[in-house]
């Protein structure tokens, strides 16, 4: 099951939250304490300071050898204090919320400032940040902490049964349900504050299948910012179908021929092309430092005028969505490329100030242990005029790819890669034999300019995409089917 963008989702239940004052007692920090800490953080100068309080509970339940027989849980609790002084950042965190420990962290963060005193005047009151909740729990009963191992394990056993029934080739199944509930309390020196409840859920399956002496494996996952209602028979069936169909296809597959060739990228997970080829290069910290290949391209034509590329924190319940980012800026939809022109970088507060623009809500962090930096949210290309059939039909010899494992990019050179788990050879406009296990490499600006066709079948993929940039963040990616006229396909010399 893949979730497409549709009006249903865009009009789903929303609410406008205010501060949840129960978070004050959860963290033992009242607004007056926050003001004292901000004052200490700015005691040696600086332009801005913030306090990020986090309480996260993670649970993981595993299926192995036919039984649900392992559970993991983790509690992480702490407060990060940050001071900005121009483009410089001082940061410290404390796992204790005793005021003396927090003041020590504030003092450490303050060391970054070079002035003798701050010119920042702290507002007397904190004003809640106004934002839309893009992942409201359906009810109080939906919160993960209300549900036990007993309730979750039935879904893993259901997954086991569905996979076993789907193929006699299956010799091993591992499954996993992960849930996370994060509570955030935030204050900054602009007098802003917010509380945010961030749920996250995932379910994954790995199968190993055997036919004669040949064995193959396949992994599939689903993830949303949802509570317990994430789990359903439909979700489990979709996951079982994905993993069984994906693995079965590999038995017919072989390595593709290698070299440069046209590549049709199927709708959905192909969004990894955007994430790696251009998304990271649009993150404004790289551009501010002049190390991105797009550093001098703002306002210039970079691709076909039919192409619009978005980084969107507002897709309801998607993994990459953010109500408000980790420095107090509401989640929003940002057009990085509009009509083929580079329209906006992805900003945190530092880069926004550097460029003299408003922050775009991309200041994100893995946890209180990290300072926020510009990160993607849900990155996708909007629909184009073609059909997927048109794109395939136009290729004489190339490949079609639709399932991916991982990707990487070199920001300055612009060289990106993504690993293709499965796809097909295209011969004379038709999909022929399946292929597998090939790395594709290209150059971001060249690949973007080489997109010669965009279909109208956008899918935002709901797999467990996680982006690493020195710290990890959940993201989503999506794409309609596109034709890239030339990419380097890793394969075998024929």
């Amino acid at each position: 099951m893949r979730i497409t963008l549709s009006p249903f989702y865009l009009t789903s239940k929303m609410s406008t939250p205010t501060i949840d004052t129960s978070y004050y007692s959860l963290f033992g920090i009242e607004p007056d304490d926050a003001r004292r800490l901000l004052s200490a953080a700015l005691s040696k100068g600086g332009d801005y300071a913030d306090i990020f309080c986090e309480h996260t509970v993670n649970n993981e339940l595993s299926l192995r050898d036919g039984e649900v027989n392992s559970v993991r849980s983790n509690i992480d609790f702490g407060v990060g204090i940050r001071v900005l002084s121009g483009d410089r950042t001082g940061y410290a965190f404390s796992e204790s919320t005793r005021i003396e420990d927090l003041l020590k962290a504030a003092s450490t963060a303050a060391e970054i400032a070079r002035d003798t005193s701050s010119k920042v005047s702290l507002p007397e009151d904190c004003t809640p940040v106004d934002f839309i909740n893009h992942y409201p729990l359906l009810s109080e009963l939906s919160g993960w902490e209300r549900h036990t191992v007993e309730e979750k394990k039935d879904y893993l056993l259901m997954l086991r049964n569905m996979i076993r029934q789907a193929s006699e080739r299956v010799i091993n199944i591992t499954g996993r349900i992960g849930d996370q509930q994060t509570r955030i309390l935030f204050f900054n020196s602009l007098g802003q504050c917010y509380t945010d409840l961030r749920p996250m859920a995932l379910m994954s399956a790995t199968v190993v299948m055997q036919e004669g002496s040949r064995m193959e494996n396949f992994y599939a996952s689903k993830s949303y910012r949802k509570g317990f209602d994430f789990l359903s028979q439909e979700l489990v069936q979709a996951l079982a179908d994905d993993v069984v169909e994906g693995c079965n296809r590999l038995f017919e597959a072989s390595r593709p021929p290698c070299g440069e060739m046209p590549v049709v990228m199927g709708a959905g997970g192909s969004g990894i092309l955007l994430h790696e080829a251009i998304g990271h290069s649009f993150e404004a910290d790289f551009n501010r430092k002049g190390v991105s290949i797009f550093s001098d391209r703002m306002g210039k034509v970079i691709c076909n005028p039919d192409i619009n590329i978005v980084d969107d924190g507002t897709l309801p319940y998607f993994r990459g969505s953010v109500n408000v980012d980790d420095e107090g800026v509401p989640g929003q939809k940002t057009y990085m490329v509009r009509n083929g022109i580079l329209n906006s970088y992805l900003h945190d507060r530092i880069s926004a100030r550097h460029y003299g623009v408003a922050p775009t809500g991309n200041g994100r962090r893995e946890s209180f242990r990290y300072m926020p930096i510009p990160r993607m949210r849900s990155t996708y290309m909007e629909n184009g005029p073609a059909t997927e059939e048109d794109l395939i039909r136009s290729v004489k010899k190339g490949i079609y790819v639709d399932n991916f494992a991982n990707g990487q990019v070199q920001i300055g050179a612009g060289d990106f890669t993504f690993y293709v788990k499965s796809g097909y050879i295209i011969e004379d406009g038709h999909l022929t034999r399946p292929i597998k296990d090939t790395n594709i490499i290209g150059n971001g600006p060249e690949a973007l300019a080489a997109i010669t066709g965009v279909a109208g079948n956008l899918i935002v993929d709901d797999s467990t995409w996680t982006c690493g940039k020195g710290q990890y963040c959940p993201v989503s990616c999506g794409m309609p089917s596109v034709l890239v006229s030339k990419l380097n396909v890793g394969g075998i010399n024929e």
Partner: protein, 435 residues
């Protein structure tokens, strides 16, 4: 480190009904400093404490962790953990290790911890960063940016269990890195980096900035080769890629789940008959050395591959029980190649003749069941042992068994501070896709 917290957690778990329990208390203190173009950009200091609790309850198992260490929070947390475990299916293979395997202490210091860690002044660290930045040739107008990072860490682990295990270890590590960005052709801004590390502050080498600059500038002229079969030399900075796949495939989890291309390989000659790969975590002063693993079992030197034959699987207690085999080690800690050609990189290039020297991987992955791999690469094309021009944006593909069968040379030049001591490796006839 407040060991009472660990002891209290163990007592609480047992009093709440656990039939077995292992508790690990970890503390770490870190400093990170970033310089951008000679100016301080980021500063971070932090101290973390985490408690890990492995619970064995009526044949059921769970692993839990928290940094909420106050007693009024810890006890209900442990009670909830035990309740969760009781809802699982029993798994008789989940047990604590055989106590006879435990490390019992009394061995000489392995030289993993710099006792001066807390006394290193902040200025000494920023001085190193400034010196590193200054090593980059700033008179070169092509240089756009230099980013230098300092990281240091003191980590301590204390581990106890309900069978009487008690062990502790501390280690330090210092590292400095430099990334250079230069103006290339068109809009391209090639980057490269170098890093140095050490367990001890006063043994941290200099020269990081100069090496980063020297590795970056040539990449301006990088190009693609024609697709074809080439000899490849994996520089010691990246050669672990060819070894980590073997180690992963010999891991108990992969083997037990039949998710390994080295299934049923124990005792079989699958690699070149001269190949010797060992794991030796008992060498004093080497990164990664330690007397016990995360289950408290004593470590030892062991052959991984000898004479091309697979000599061990990496089995912790659970997977040893699952596979009905003796427990070995959880993982490979300090891989090394004791039998090698005695040659450094330049001589390996000369003896290999022509091919591609791989100095960096860019993405890619492998199939754990088949051993098929495909990785993005960059580096140098060389002929007659001489580097002719840099190359990039190509893929190296194959499968690990066939790849290792074409291993022709093993160098003697592992990077001294790396946990795995993997030297330069040369292979013939590899598939490279280019233009």
């Amino acid at each position: 480190m407040n060991k009472d917290i660990a002891q209290k957690a163990l007592e609480t778990a047992m009093s709440c009904g656990a039939s077995g329990c292992r508790v690990t208390l970890s503390e770490s203190t870190q400093t990170s400093i970033s310089y951008l173009n000679g100016e301080i950009e980021k500063l971070q200091e932090s101290t973390s404490t985490a408690l890990g609790i492995a619970l064995f309850t009526e044949g059921r198992y769970g692993a839990f962790s928290t940094n909420r260490l106050e007693e009024d929070e810890l006890r209900p947390f442990i009670q909830r953990c035990i309740s969760s475990c009781r809802l699982l299916a029993p798994d008789k293979c989940r047990t604590l290790p055989d106590p006879s395997l435990y490390y019992r202490g009394g061995r000489p210091d392995l030289g993993q911890c710099d006792t001066n860690f807390s006394r290193i002044p902040f200025k000494a660290k920023t001085d190193i960063l400034e010196a590193t930045d200054a090593e980059v040739n700033k008179s070169d107008s092509r240089v756009i940016s230099t980013a230098c990072d300092w990281d240091d860490c003191l980590r301590s682990d204390y581990i106890i269990d309900s069978q009487g295990l008690e062990a502790e270890a501390s280690s330090t590590f210092y590292s400095v890195s430099c990334e250079c960005t230069v103006r290339g052709h068109g809009e391209a801004r090639p980057q490269n980096n170098w890093f140095e590390g050490s367990l001890f502050f006063d043994r941290l080498p200099s020269g990081c900035g100069r090496t980063a600059y020297e590795r970056t500038v040539p990449m301006i002229e990088a190009r693609k080769l024609s697709s074809g079969k080439y000899n490849v030399v994996l520089e010691n900075t990246v050669s672990a890629k060819a070894v980590s796949a073997i180690i992963s495939a010999l891991n108990g989890s992969a083997l037990q789940q039949r998710n390994s291309f080295l299934l049923d390989s124990l005792g079989k000659r699958l690699f070149p008959e001269n190949l010797l790969i060992t794991d030796n975590p008992l060498i004093p002063g080497r990164t990664g050395s330690g007397y016990f693993d995360s289950e408290g079992a004593a470590t030892c030197e062991r052959d991984i591959i000898r004479d091309g034959v697979v000599r061990t699987y990496f089995l912790n207690t659970y997977f040893a029980n699952k596979l009905g085999m003796p427990r070995t080690a959880e993982d490979a800690y300090a891989v090394c190649f004791p039998r090698n050609s005695g040659l450094g990189l330049e001589e390996i290039l000369r003896q290999t003749g022509s091919g591609v020297l791989i100095t960096g991987f860019n993405g890619g992955n492998s199939n754990p069941v088949t051993g098929d791999f495909s990785y993005g690469i960059e580096g140098w094309y060389f002929e007659n042992g001489q580097r002719l021009y840099p190359v990039k944006e190509m893929n190296l593909s194959g499968d690990f068994i066939s790849f290792w069968a074409r291993n022709i040379l093993i160098g003697n030049d592992p990077i001294s501070f790396m946990q795995w001591q993997i030297p330069t490796l040369a292979f013939e006839g590899a598939d490279i896709s280019g233009i």
